[in-house]
Amino acid sequence: MKQTEFIATVLPFKDMLYRLAKRILVSSDEAEDAVQEVYLKLWKGKDKIKKYKSPQAFAVTMTKNYCLDRLKSKQASNLKIVHSNYQANESLERQLEANDGVSIVFKLMESLPAQQKIIMQLRDIEEFEFSEIAKMVDSNETAVRVSLSRARKTIREQLRKQYKYGIS
């Protein structure tokens, strides 16, 4: 596979991968690095891409796994530093942004468990079919629906709390 052909197949979904990476890693710098890394890996294995039915699904799975690994190693390495003073700042930030409905939804999505977060991202933002998502996250459609329902409900509950709090 030549570089032009590779770019034509793989580059159209760079933004989608970036959004997914950012959903998992939160930091935009980290997400950029992750996408870069994923593209290098894809480029390295470019001859294998053709074998996959959907290069897009393959890239999504790759990004998901890379980001989760990244997250794991991060949490393992600076768990102590993050916990002591970072937490206070974040809750302050959260209160400041409480008025802004949109950013609060993003914050709520951040606090979801990783799998639910990923599934919600793939369904509600990237608009994939359940069958596609099931392949991407290596699961089945029923499980995907259940996770999605849980994620949406959690956000609804939290939003209701915030909403009532805002009114009273």
């Binding site: 409905g101 949109v102 608009e127 999605l148 209701r160």
Partner: protein
């Protein structure tokens, strides 16, 4: 879109039972201006989902890093093959030296063979002389008869 339908879709949405088309309908309803008051609490959710679609990657992706790596590999290949050629060439050039040694050994062998032959010839000469001695005793016997 009538309100009852939207409410039904919302219910299905939270159960994870809506199709992509139905979800699009919900998003467009909630991002439009006129949302029923009792459904206002869902506006932030759908408007942020809509907004999240628009985020793009601003950084240029680098693929050339890989090409420099492959050219380095190429150089490794050249270095390795050069080393192999040098080793083979070394063998080839040292080959005549070895045969020269062999030639020396061969000449030495020939020399010693000649020496051995000379020795055995002289030894044979010696036995011829002995034959003469035998003849001498024969003739003396004739005379003494």
């Amino acid at each position: 879109m009538e309100l009852a339908n939207i409410e039904k879709l919302l219910e299905a949405y939270f159960e994870g039972n809506t199709t992509l088309a139905e979800e699009a309908t919900l998003r467009s309803y909630f991002t439009e201006a006129s949302v029923a008051p009792h459904l206002k609490e869902y506006v932030p959710l759908f408007s942020s989902l809509q907004l999240a679609k628009e985020e793009v990657l601003n950084k240029e992706l680098v693929l050339s890093e890989e090409t420099t790596k492959t050219s380095r590999n190429w150089w490794y290949g050249i270095a390795a093959s050069a080393a192999v050629v040098a080793i083979i060439a070394g063998f080839v050039f040292t080959q005549p030296n070895l045969s020269q040694e062999e030639q020396e050994a061969l000449t030495a062998f020939n020399e010693s063979k000649k020496a051995m032959l000379l020795l055995s010839q002289n030894f044979n000469n010696g036995t011829e002389q002995l034959a003469l001695v035998g003849q001498f005793s024969e003739t003396t016997n004739k005379i003494l008869k």
